[in-house]
Each structure stands twice: as structure tokens, then as C-alpha cells.
């Protein structure tokens, strides 16, 4: 836990310094979070989740008292390194395209014997609460792809159909505000309030998004996953709750991942 306490001290010190800096200069920096990230350096609080996730991954758990060491993330049973950068992909054993989080749930059910309901009823931690197992396992596996080149496959028909649906969903307007993903994410250098919006119609914006999730969200004090990112965008779109691991969620992640091809994973990152 040495890492933890040192990270916590650095976070506290950084916040204090930021507050001082803001008071001192009396100005609003263009991106105070960039300063914050720089000051945190290697001490991303997500590293705590990565460490816990690693432990969980290797510990025999569940009704079957099995670890996840044999979970096949697409590169063969037990291969974790680089796997996150190549998901979503088609899995013959389930006959479907799965993103990392959906595949993780599949492994926890089929290998460890957990039920889908207990895993997905509350996939994301409440504010201020302990991170869920899914969140820390996602942080761990993503961290094992740091530097890996994003290569979401388009080899089989199901993967190409997922991309086609994902692209169409990206432009699909619905709900009382008539919003599509594209309403906010189809031009460069646009902002909502002061928040920069990635242009998710091109490789550069898609990479900046895909490379950095999962992320430690400073405003939430927690690691958030790509499934969370999709669901929370959909909430702001004024649509109903996006179901964890649903086809729409996977198709959107496929769209983003294929567009981000060639980028280098750098997650878990620090985000606003």
C-alpha cells in the first residue's frame, strides 16, 4: 500500500497547489486538468485499481473457486498483454462480437461460476463507494495494453456488421432533444461549456478517446470504463438507460475502436 499513500499525498498536495495557483493568478487556465495531470505524473490514482485488479484476476474466486488466468480475451487462454487493444472482436465460442467488459463478464460466468445478474446489476461504482470488481479488473487488463497499437479487427462478417451498425448508431438522432452522438462529436475544436469534444468522425479524435479509456475521472474520484463512458453519453442524449454489454454499446465501441486503429493505448488515463 506504499504506492497508495504516496499517491494520495501527491493528489492532496497537487490539489492544494492548484487552488493556490488559481487564487494567485486569479485566472482560469485553458486546461487546468492538463496541469493537474502533469503534476500527478506517474501517480495516477488508477494504479490502485490496477493493483487490485491484478490481485483479483489471479485469485481463485466464485462458486468454482477458479481464477481468471484461463480467460481467453481473443489472443488465447491466459494471454492478457495487448488483448485490450484488439477488442471488440468476434468470439466463436459465444457466436458474438464482444468488447472487453462483456468478455470479462463471460469469463467470470463460465470460469468462475458467477451469475450474470450479480455481475451486471451494478457494474459501475456509486460515487464515493468502493470500485466494483468489473472496474478494477478492467483497469488491470487495460494497463497490460499500455503502448499496444489499437487493432480492432474487421475480419469476419459479424465484426463488419457491428461496425456498420455502430456507425449508423453514431448518426442516429432520437429522443426529445433529437440528439445523435454526432450532434456533439462531428467537428474539430468544439466545446460544451469549456469541455473540449473529440471529433469522433476521424481517426485523430477516435484515437484520443479510445486510447485513454478506462480512465480515472478526477471529477468523480473513480476509475470509469468505456461501457460507463457510452452509457453516460447516452444519458445526456436524453435516451433511456443503455444496458451494460448490450449490442448497441458494443457496436458503438466497435465503431470507435476501428476508427482509432493505429493509435497507441495509454489507459487507464487521467480525465477530467
Amino acid at each position: 500500500m506504499a504506492v497508495g499513500s504516496s499517491a494520495a499525498r501527491r493528489v492532496a498536495a497537487t490539489l492544494a497547489m492548484l487552488a493556490l495557483t488559481a487564487a494567485w493568478t486569479g485566472s482560469v487556465a485553458a486546461d487546468p486538468f492538463a496541469t493537474y495531470r502533469e503534476m500527478l505524473g506517474e501517480d495516477n490514482p488508477a494504479e490502485l485499481a490496477v493493483a487490485r485488479g491484478q490481485e483479483l484476476w489471479n485469485t481463485p474466486r466464485g462458486p468454482n473457486n477458479a481464477s481468471l488466468a484461463d480467460c481467453d480475451l481473443g489472443l488465447g487462454p491466459g494471454v492478457v498483454r495487448g488483448a485490450y487493444a484488439k477488442l471488440p472482436r468476434y468470439f466463436a465460442d459465444t457466436g458474438s462480437v464482444m468488447d472487453f467488459e462483456t468478455r470479462l463478464v463471460h469469463c467470470m460466468i463460465s470460469i468462475q461460476g458467477f451469475t450474470r445478474h450479480e455481475l451486471t446489476e451494478r457494474p459501475f461504482s456509486e460515487r464515493g463507494a468502493r470500485q466494483t470488481d468489473l472496474e478494477v479488473l478492467t483497469a488491470y487488463v487495460a494497463a497490460q495494453s499500455r503502448g499496444a497499437i489499437i487493432d480492432v479487427p474487421q475480419r469476419v462478417r459479424q465484426e463488419r456488421e457491428s461496425l456498420a451498425r455502430g456507425r449508423a448508431l453514431f448518426y442516429r438522432r432520437a429522443g426529445p432533444y433529437d440528439f445523435a452522438c454526432a450532434t456533439c462529436h462531428s467537428a474539430e475544436h468544439r466545446r460544451i461549456r469549456l469541455q473540449e469534444l473529440p471529433d469522433l468522425t476521424g481517426a485523430e479524435g477516435a484515437r484520443s478517446a479510445f486510447e485513454h479509456w478506462p480512465a480515472y475521472r478526477i471529477s468523480q474520484g473513480a476509475v470509469r470504463t468505456m461501457q460507463w463512458r457510452m452509457a453516460d453519453c447516452v444519458r445526456q442524449q436524453r435516451l433511456p438507460q443503455l444496458v451494460f454489454g448490450s449490442q448497441v454499446s458494443i457496436d458503438l465501441i466497435t465503431y470507435l475502436g476501428v476508427l482509432a486503429k493505429g493509435g497507441a493505448m495509454d489507459a487507464p488515463s487521467l480525465r477530467r
Binding site: R172, A174, Y177, A182, R190, I192, L194, V243, V248, D251
Partner: protein, 204 residues
């Protein structure tokens, strides 16, 4: 129909149209997967997943490339949807308008259905000169009165834009604040004042 016949038909379908299937994937039919991908929550029911004709036509990368007659029809229908104030009182209270422009509350499942809704105008527009946390998806509305004048025609156009922005710009990204019932006519009057009252910080 005997099972064998169905199999033959399916095989014929698969063999016959590789390129057609490719094209179909391009314009993917989203309907089957969508409903099962969502759960009703709070005030957001599954009915919100259904598309109006306008939403369907505007669901594309380049809506400006729709045929001119389609865009004209969307604009005409949008203009027809506008209900102008019967008493011809265009301007309410700009201070209330500023609060409405600041508030992002409204119609998310995380919002209380009873809470007063906002327009969240600053999310996308610069409006007053003093609020620096404004978005850039929409055009700046600073100095609106100076730029657009305060003729009855300007009032009508501004009201119509807030009510249903597709009236002048088919497939506008802006929500239809009046037509979709997001804001009340009184709230729109207050926003009108924020934009057009000479005393509003937008114009002072």
C-alpha cells in the same frame, strides 16, 4: 411452408446477393438490436427510441446533402409547427432568461421530472459577455439585438428559431425547445428578452 423450402430460400438469399448484403450492412437496420439495448429509467421511457420522420431523415453524416426539396419540406413543416404568442408579447424577463440559459436540468433520467427545466443554452452558445464558460457548437449570440435588430420580423424569426430551429436550417443540431415541449412559452419569452431586451447584458 415446409422446412426444406425455407432452407432453400435462405440459401438462395445468401448465395444471390453478396453485394446487396454489403450494401444492407452500410445502411444497417438498427431496429432489432436497439430496444433490447435499453431499459426505461426515470422519466426516459423506451418510446424515446422511436424516430420521427425528421429524426430519421437527419440521421446521416451530411444532412446538408439531402435533396433540396426534402430540406425545404422539413423547413416548411418546422415553420408550420411554431406557435407564436397570441398576445404578441415577445419579451419576458431577461434575468429569468439568463437562469434558463444557464441551467442544464431537463429530461435526462438523472433529472427530477418535477424540477424546472433549463435551456442549457450556454452549453453551445456564447450569450452574455460575462459568462466565459460557453460552448462553441452553435454560433455566438452576443450582441444579438445589434446584429439582428428588434423589428417584428426579427422577433418572429428568433421565436421560431427557439421553438423549432429546423424552420430555417433543416437538420439543425439544436433541440426544438418549443415544438418538443422542452420549455414553456413563458420561458421562451424570457430567453427572447435575454437576446433582445436592450437592458440585457447580451446587448448592453
Amino acid at each position: 411452408m415446409p422446412a426444406g423450402q425455407i432452407v432453400v430460400l435462405i440459401l438462395l438469399g445468401l448465395a444471390g446477393c453478396g453485394s446487396a448484403r454489403q450494401a444492407q450492412a452500410e445502411t444497417a437496420d438498427l431496429t432489432p438490436g436497439i430496444r433490447s439495448s435499453f431499459m426505461p429509467r426515470g422519466q426516459a421511457g423506451l418510446d424515446r427510441l422511436e424516430q420521427s420522420e425528421m429524426q430519421r431523415l437527419c440521421s446521416r453524416a451530411q444532412p446538408q446533402e439531402l435533396p433540396a426539396r426534402v430540406k425545404q419540406r422539413l423547413q416548411r413543416e418546422a415553420l408550420d409547427s411554431v406557435r407564436y404568442p397570441e398576445d404578441r408579447r415577445w419579451l419576458g424577463d431577461w434575468q429569468r432568461g439568463e437562469q434558463i440559459a444557464q441551467s442544464g436540468v431537463g429530461l435526462q433520467y438523472s433529472d427530477s421530472a418535477e424540477a424546472a427545466r433549463g435551456g442549457n443554452c450556454y452549453a453551445c452558445h456564447q450569450i452574455s459577455g460575462t459568462e466565459i464558460a460557453f460552448g462553441t457548437i452553435g454560433p455566438s449570440l452576443y450582441r444579438y439585438r445589434q446584429r439582428n435588430g428588434d423589428s417584428i420580423d426579427s422577433m418572429r424569426r428568433t421565436w421560431a428559431r427557439i421553438w423549432n430551429a429546423h424552420a430555417f436550417n433543416a437538420c439543425s443540431p439544436m433541440p426544438r425547445f418549443g415544438d418538443a415541449g422542452i420549455l414553456t412559452p413563458d420561458q421562451i419569452r424570457d430567453l427572447m428578452a435575454l437576446l433582445l431586451d436592450p437592458q440585457s447584458p447580451v446587448n448592453r
